[in-house]
């Protein structure tokens, strides 16, 4: 697969600064070894892999990142963080992308509790409901 990455003036943009601030990470520390994606238990369900998320964040590709499925699939299991040879907290970067989407001022929830039947809701343990709402809704 060929991927064309167009460098744009977005590098160093306010988006990159915001991601770095919320996540507390230096995006340019990543040298693309791919360890995060290799061990990610959610990789099979993602459209963009964790190392690609970091690369695209470096490049300020806001639109593509915030429209990706991956940022909502990551459950913060922190396997990537614990194995990154550069000690980058990839999960924190992904959380900052979710936060950016959820703080956009418009409802951008990725979970609609109303669509889940009362029986299904009752069967789920409280920790499942609360964590899903904390991670996926504003």
């Amino acid at each position: 697969m060929n991927t064309t990455i167009r460098l744009s003036s977005s590098i160093g943009s306010s988006f990159v600064a915001k991601v770095e601030k919320i996540s507390g990470q230096k995006l340019l520390a990543c040298y693309q070894c791919g360890k995060c994606s290799a061990g990610c238990p959610m990789a099979a369900h993602m459209d963009i892999l964790p190392n690609q998320i970091i690369r695209m964040a470096q490049l300020g590709m806001q639109k593509q990142l915030l429209a990706s499925r991956s940022i909502w699939v990551c459950v913060s299991c922190l396997t990537c963080n614990s194995r990154c040879p550069k000690s980058i907290r990839i999960a924190e970067v992904i959380e900052s992308l979710r936060e950016t989407a959820l703080r956009s001022g418009q409802r951008n929830d990725h979970l609609n509790i109303g669509e889940i039947s009362p029986e299904a809701r009752g069967a789920l343990p409280p920790i499942a409901m609360i964590s899903a709402m904390r991670k996926l809704t504003s």
Partner: protein, 300 residues
């Protein structure tokens, strides 16, 4: 274990919400087995939800309020230590605690926000997981002396998931290959089996909106357990227990070779080995009934 005045030791115990309904079996077996170890557990007054997930955003101080309020309740019980057996509560309480110990500004913001609280939090409560308490304060050798019904021949796969081992500063054992549960299981007379996916994520809260992910994870994890011919799996997290137990039928849709493997809390095996009654085990709350697997080893 006796206190200095020969009375049972008292320990502040934070059960968390799920242990009071879906995971009553975890709560009851924790309290019963601690009693057998002469440790009296006491819940702090007015405890609230731990918040369940640690917010990873550096500016999200709001989500630390719930765990920190619980640590204030521990102080108000005149204690400086709290034990929890739920991995999710442990992780959230411990991380919020570690965070405010490192960041005075975040702690000041939280104390200011909950200004109606009479007690201020100063990072002065120690958060312990039950496994850690059993290993470091009681000792597995001492614990083994209390076993009245050794779990002989029982092959147990210890599943840690994420929250006991990540991030590194909350882990009380090796991050990639923890052995604390295996050592406990051995002290109970059972035989731990090793399998490669013991610290792989179960899919957690995707149980709510993306059940297909849970089916995939459960298939992989339970498939790996099955390959090692384990009789059952033990966990410390009600989220993992739910996904691996209640979503096994979904996983079988992906893999018809997947057998019916029961999932228990490690405290239930303790209660069983210490001779606690059925009311401490609450096997009625399981999806896959643990009794046939235990009966096959003569342990019912």
């Amino acid at each position: 274990m006796m206190g200095s005045d020969n009375k049972p030791m008292k320990l502040i115990y934070y059960p968390g919400c799920t242990l009071k309904n879906h995971a009553r079996n975890f709560d009851d077996s924790t309290v019963s087995s601690m009693a057998k170890l002469d440790v009296e557990v006491e819940e702090p007054a007015r405890w609230n939800c731990c918040g369940t997930v640690h917010a990873l955003g550096s500016d999200n101080v709001m989500n630390r309020v719930a765990p920190i309020t619980n640590l204030i309740r521990v102080k108000e019980a005149n204690a400086s230590e709290v034990m929890t057996s739920c991995a999710m509560c442990y992780n959230t309480l411990k991380r919020a605690n570690n965070d405010v110990k490192k960041r005075a500004d975040a702690l000041a913001t939280i104390n200011e926000f909950i200004y109606l609280e009479e007690t201020k939090y100063q990072g002065d409560v120690n958060v312990l997981h039950l496994l850690e308490y059993l290993r470091d304060r009681i000792g597995f050798e001492k614990l083994a002396e209390r076993v009245t019904k050794p779990l002989k021949g029982l092959r147990v796969a210890c599943y840690y998931g994420c929250l006991l081992v990540r991030p590194k500063d909350v882990a009380f054992d090796d991050v990639e290959n923890p052995m604390i549960m295996e050592n406990l299981i051995r002290a109970l007379g059972a035989e731990p089996v090793s399998f490669p996916l013991k610290t792989e994520c179960c899919g957690a809260y995707h149980a709510v909106g993306k059940p297909e992910i849970i089916a995939d994870r459960t298939n992989k994890i339970m498939g790996s357990v099955q390959e090692q011919k384990a009789d059952l799996v033990v966990v410390s997290c009600p989220m993992c227990a739910y996904n691996l137990d209640f979503r096994q039928d979904d996983a079988r849709q992906l893999n018809s070779d997947l057998q019916h493997l029961p999932v228990l809390y490690f405290t239930q095996l303790m209660a069983l080995a210490f001779g606690c009654g059925d009311e401490a085990l609450r096997f009625d709350l399981h999806h896959i009934d643990p009794l046939p697997a235990l009966a096959a080893r003569g342990l019912d």
